[in-house]
């Protein structure tokens, strides 16, 4: 795993200047944080580079940082013949949630990006059909953002103070 991390970071650092913000090993996964301006060319490189060959998009999803100021999009890529996996993340401002789409690389990214848009409001530039997928079209919030708590915190008929909630 350590070798794979070093190999990929060497390749990325020589190919792209200042694109890689951090690289680390989290449990059994090499994780790269990429500048949001470079994210598309980096995943394209990871996919098309002959040695790395991360040809399979396992998963694409969003998340929000704990301070609620940034959103992130997380790609899980897989090289099946060598059984290498890598996680690529990119962070951007919650008020300008725009990154390029990956649908030109994988048609399978279509619904995953629609789901991420649906729940986090990330606008994937260039997506052919970016609209809500699981929630109703009339919804005007992005429900997985942390600013929308699951239960109404102002309710008084439920008192869970005793158990630290």
């Amino acid at each position: 795993m350590e070798d794979l991390l070093n190999k990929i970071s060497l390749k990325l650092n020589t190919k792209f200047l200042n694109a890689v913000i951090s690289s680390e090993l989290l449990y059994d996964f090499p994780v790269f944080t990429i500048n949001s301006a470079n994210i598309h060319e980096v995943i394209r490189f990871l996919k098309e580079d002959e040695e790395l060959n991360f040809h399979f998009l396992t998963d694409l999803t969003g998340a929000q940082t704990a301070d609620e100021k940034q959103l992130s999009v997380i790609y899980h890529l897989h090289n099946m013949p060598k059984n290498w996996r890598v996680r690529v993340k990119t962070y951007f401002d919650v008020n300008v949630p725009e990154i390029p789409t990956a649908t030109d690389l994988w048609p399978g990214a279509n619904w995953m990006e629609r789901e991420t848009f649906d729940f986090y409001g990330v606008r994937f530039i260039g997506h052919p059909n970016l609209k809500r997928i699981l929630n109703v079209d009339e919804m005007d919030i992005f429900p997985l953002r942390k600013e929308y708590p699951l239960e109404d915190q102002t309710r008084e008929d439920k008192d869970d103070k005793m158990f630290g909630r």
Binding site: T61, A63, N83, W106, F119, N135
Partner: protein, 403 residues
Amino acid sequence: MRKKLDTTLPLNDLMEKEYSILNLGPTHPATHGIFQNVLRMDGEIIHDAVPTLGYIHRAFEKLAERRPYAQITPITDRLNYCSSPINNMGWHMTVEKLIKAEIPKRAEYMRVIVMELSRIADHIICNTIIGQDTGGTTGFLYLFQWREHIYDIFESICGARLTTNICRIGGFEREWNQNTWDKINVFIKDFPKALNEFNTLLMRNKIFMDRTINCGPISSKMALEYSFTGPNLRAAGIDYDVRVASPYSSYQDFDFKIPIGTSGDTYDRFTVRDEEMKQSLSIISQAIKNMPSGKVHADIPDFFLPPKHEVYNNMEALIYHFKIVMGETDVPKGEIYHCVEGGNGELGFYLISDGGRTPFRLHFRRPCFIYYQAYPEMIKGALLSDAIITMSSMNVIAGELDA
């Protein structure tokens, strides 16, 4: 074998035709779940399909952000409810990976038995329903007795049948009783015979082969681009199986084959699932034969409930019991992805923990949500009746699709 319609005709030729719009679903008996497809039809030939999703969306990912780790297991039951034990185990293993718990071999082998039984149950549903949709009701009713038998086994292990909530974080809560083992032995002894009888009904049946061969095919290249996993990817000729690629729960100890198809059509998906059931049976008998002795759960008092008699008589056990039941145990910070081979593909759990009592973010990689988007591509130019069996053979489960 029928030819696909040429959809690359010049626009003028197409403009002269009048298309009809057909709503297939959301509640149609042939779709086996809440699926809606708005089809643009030229007579009986499908030109385009637009799937609508979200009819049973239950906000699992949001719910999970407020639930302690042990209380998320019942949520995973309701993803792919045809093989809920695999989802449960996948979630337990994710948490165990996060807290770095060591699970005894015996518990891992027992988990393998449960997971393979539920894979068989999942494949029974899918394959018999392909039979049902092509007009062979007999096999459906006949093999469902054996699915009942599997559910009886689950019931004697954990008390539930469909949404099992089986096993715990750390291992099983108790040894299985003799009744359970007897039932499993009866199953592996008698099920192959029933499966063979089912196969003689369909496998080389001329009508079945005519209906399924070259129906809803997908090439291996396209399957990879659409992130297919599981039996659907293997039917297209890619030998990717999570159990072999990144073994979990001691799968490396077992000797089994990964069946693959060639053309990725409905018939190949049927045969791949059929062979997988046989391989699963072989894994179960290997697990029973080589079952190690020892404890059935890990030694992690923070997560694993202490035995009841200790709770009533021992202060420490009572404290742990209270902390676990009230969900007041903190977990380490971390970010992990763990995947298992579910009934219909790679079921992944992407978990970010900020060190609190609940996950900060939990994402389920739901295989059928990802591969169902290739469905319009697969049925373009096919007949309506082919679209129905293509959908049943893809094993799309509404609960997993809509989360």
